[in-house]
């Protein structure tokens, strides 16, 4: 079943085309990785889906609902029920770990008892229970990563969007976090849209890959197909 659909979506920033005529669909429970160089439009695509920016043309559908069309957002980000992990994580420094998770639950008017249960459960899932009262500044990079993930998952979103979430981690931690994200996705079954510039990360995380270049989709396919495509490209470049 198709959860997300982009129909001929384009976006221009101050005369520079960021995304051009992109059509793409994502099925329920899929792990789709968008890969490409800096400035190729992959983050813009994610932000369009999140509703943080509106497309100039084309439309976006989530679960059959048109959320953006005719050059404007029909649903605001808070109405789309998507989770997102930002590149800089965007943990709110004035709130504790619990506060970061609780903020969205309160916005959704979830009763206190259920809030507490959900927070405890989600923190346990990312092994952060002992740090519930800590502030983000007291945590290591990997721990902050887990809190950002927990904050996005605690609301049980239709899909999780991740914008280069591991780019600031060292090699070892990066590998460890990839495994944890995969485990979580398999355990919870959420749809994952993952943006990265790192092909190795893309091959490990994705079940389907989209290669973007100059704002358009250059290639789309399974892991082996894209791996072969990259090999061909590098052979052509010598």
């Amino acid at each position: 079943m198709k959860l997300i659909e982009f129909h001929a979506v384009s976006k221009t920033y101050e005369g520079r085309v960021a995304v051009r005529d992109v059509s793409l669909s994502v099925t329920q429970g899929e792990r789709l990785v968008i890969v490409g160089h800096s400035g190729c439009g992959k983050t813009t695509l994610l932000r369009l889906l999140a509703g943080l920016i509106a497309p100039d043309t084309g439309s976006i559908t989530i679960n059959g609902d048109r959320v953006a069309a005719d050059g404007r957002n029909l649903k605001e980000p808070e109405e789309r029920n998507l989770g997102m992990v930002f590149q800089d994580l965007a943990l709110w420094p004035h709130l504790t770990v619990t506060g970061n998770l609780e903020f969205g639950l309160k916005a959704h008017k979830i009763p206190r008892v259920e809030r507490d249960t959900r927070i405890q459960g989600t923190l346990a899932l990312v092994q952060m229970e002992p740090y519930a009262a800590a502030s983000p500044a007291e945590l290591s990079g990997g721990q902050q990563q887990r809190v950002a993930l927990a904050r996005a998952l605690v609301l049980r979103p239709k899909a999780l969007l991740m914008d280069e979430p591991l780019s600031n981690l060292d090699f070892e931690l990066n590998g460890q976090m990839r495994q944890e994200i995969l485990k979580l996705q398999q355990a919870l079954g959420f749809t994952l849209l993952y943006v990265t510039h790192n092909p190795d990360e893309a091959f490990e995380i994705g079940t389907r890959l989209v290669v973007m270049r100059h704002g358009t989709i250059e290639r789309m396919g399974g892991v082996e197909e894209i791996r072969e495509y990259f090999k061909t490209l590098s052979r052509q470049l010598g």
């Binding site: 808070e78 997102m84 930002f86 590149q87 965007a90 916005a107 609301l155």
Partner: protein
């Protein structure tokens, strides 16, 4: 939806409180006996006095700016970039004249240099006092008082601009040059937009100042406009006098926007973690310290001491408080209320400006900056022209009109401080809140406001001080029995003994400095704990 409602309310408020009074005032000046007429403008342009006033009105801010820049830039450099001793204390002392109504310094200098009973007359004889008095009551005196009042603006903006220069640029320079070469070749040119902005601010603020030229009897347009309105009730003539001032202000703001705003935007505060190494002054340290102390003594300490000497009797303070104690409390209440409203209005406006979420956001920004730099007497006349009608007497005859004046003139202070504070918060903080389902008001209230709290506190404090020291607007619009301490003191000056005026001035200084000192004492332990 909520965001749209709030943005529409803000635009409406700024138009009704800020723009509409000016338009109505200008419109009324073009109607004589019920018909369109440019009579007031023709009379104004044909009068030789107008051109004399224009010369005075340009000469005073030009010389004041020169005075403030010549002293303020080296001070900003020494106090912000070097290892000079007691930098924080000296910075605080130099700031005092900016925090109090400017005429207080003029009063103090008049007790020192002027009249038959001044200090110079007592110590050096009346003939000498006549010379110093002639010098003080005129252009040089106005430049001295306004220059020392606005010098802290140049000092602070120079310091901030220099501290915003990327330390790596200076370190690269230090590999091939001494500090003098780095400062003149790299630091100061990079910080130049900030210094130019401070000069423009000083020019505009001294262009609109009316209490000092009034007290020191130097005729300029802001005084003329006030006199035409307050003494002769001639709104048309007052507007005609004000129009040239308005044109000068608008011209300067356009130049600032065209040539300075963009380079200034490239100067961003450096990260708290990045360390700048203070310039070691070496053998010059002691000499420069003495020089700065001497300057501080002349510009700040001596005028304050003169007031202390003039009012050195407990009985006179009892008398002063009996006469103006209610005005003091009223000043603090108006200022606190005004600052709170300005902080709220400035925060939301600053949000829309920073996020560019308003159509015509540049026009609104320009409007608030123009209102900040317009002479307070012009805004006062405009407010009276619009609101002094039977239908709006519930506003005009109450303290609401004073608050309207504060909102009209000082919104730019809090909105620009909010813009600066919000620009330091990554956009992803608000986006992350939207992604977890928080609506706009919740995002602003629970995420952005707490993250920008230092900016909000700074905005409240700055606007409180400006409301507290305000003389021009309050003087024009205060309701019956609703005068503030600066206005009460200013009106008592004509026929009250100097001892009483000196005591009132010192009470005003204390009313400004004591809350600041308390706040500093309250905030410092919090910072240390963090």
């Amino acid at each position: 939806m909520t965001r749209r409602v709030v943005s529409v309310l803000i635009v409406l408020l700024l138009v009704v409180i800020g723009l509409l009074p000016l338009l109505v005032m200008f419109g009324q000046s073009l109607i004589v006996n019920g018909r369109f007429s440019t009579e007031f403008y023709q009379a104004s342009l044909a009068s030789a006095r107008t051109w004399v006033l224009l010369g005075h009105s340009v000469a005073l801010p030009l010389l004041t700016t020169l005075f403030a820049v010549v002293l303020g830039v080296p001070l900003g450099l020494l106090l912000g970039k070097t290892d000079l001793r007691y930098r924080t204390l000296l910075m605080a002392l130099f700031t005092i004249p900016l925090l109090v109504p400017p005429y207080i310094m003029a009063v103090s200098w008049s007790y020192a240099l002027g009249g038959r009973e001044g200090l110079v007359a007592r110590w050096l004889g009346v003939p000498m006092a006549q010379q110093t008095s002639a010098w003080l009551f005129g252009l040089p005196g106005c430049v001295l008082v306004l220059g020392s009042t606005f010098l802290p603006i140049v000092m602070f903006l120079t310091r901030t601009s220099l501290q915003s220069v990327n330390p790596r640029l200076e370190e690269a320079g230090r590999l091939v040059s001494g500090w003098f070469g780095v400062l003149t070749g790299i630091s100061l040119p990079t910080a130049l937009p900030g210094i130019l902005l401070s000069a423009i601010l000083v020019f505009l603020l001294s262009l609109g100042e009316f209490s000092v030229p009034t007290f020191l009897r130097y005729s300029v347009f802001s005084v003329e406009s006030f006199t035409q309105f307050a003494a002769f009730h001639e709104v048309g003539a007052a507007t005609a006098s004000a129009t040239l001032l308005v044109l000068i202000v608008l011209l300067i703001l356009v130049v600032e926007r065209r040539y300075i705003r963009r380079p200034l935007a490239s100067l961003q505060p450096i990260s708290d973690r990045e360390e700048t190494v203070p310039i070691a002054l070496g053998a010059l340290r002691a000499w420069l310290f003495m020089l700065v102390c001497l300057l501080c003594g002349v510009l700040v300490v001596v005028p304050l001491l003169v007031l202390v000497m003039q009012s050195a009797s407990p009985a006179i303070y009892v008398d002063a408080l009996a006469r103006a104690g209610d005005s003091l409390l009223r000043s603090m209440a108006y200022a606190a209320l005004g600052a709170s409203l300005l902080t709220i209005l400035g925060f939301f406006l600053g949000y829309f400006l920073a996020r560019r979420r308003l159509p015509f956001w540049q026009a609104l920004d320009f409007l608030t900056i123009a209102l900040l730099t317009l002479p307070s007497t012009v805004i006062g006349v405009a407010l009276v022209t619009l609101w002094n009608r039977p239908a709006t007497i519930f506003i005009y005859a109450t303290p609401l009109i004073v608050l309207f004046g504060y909102l009209a003139q000082y919104t730019a202070l809090t909105s620009r401080i909010t813009v600066a504070a919000l620009n330091r918060i990554p956009a992803s903080m608000e986006e992350a809140a939207a992604m977890v389902g928080a609506g706009w008001l919740r995002r602003v209230g629970y995420i952005l406001a707490p993250l920008a709290k230092r900016g909000l506190v700074a905005g409240w404090l700055v606007s409180y001080l400006f409301c507290l020291r305000d003389t021009g607007i309050t003087m024009m619009v205060y309701p019956p029995g609703g005068e503030t301490l600066p206005v009460r003191t200013f009106t008592l000056m004509a026929n009250s003994p100097p001892r009483l005026i000196a005591a009132l001035c010192l009470i005003m200084v204390m009313a400004t400095l004591i809350p600041l000192g308390l706040l500093h004492g309250f905030v410092r332990p919090l910072r240390a704990a963090r």
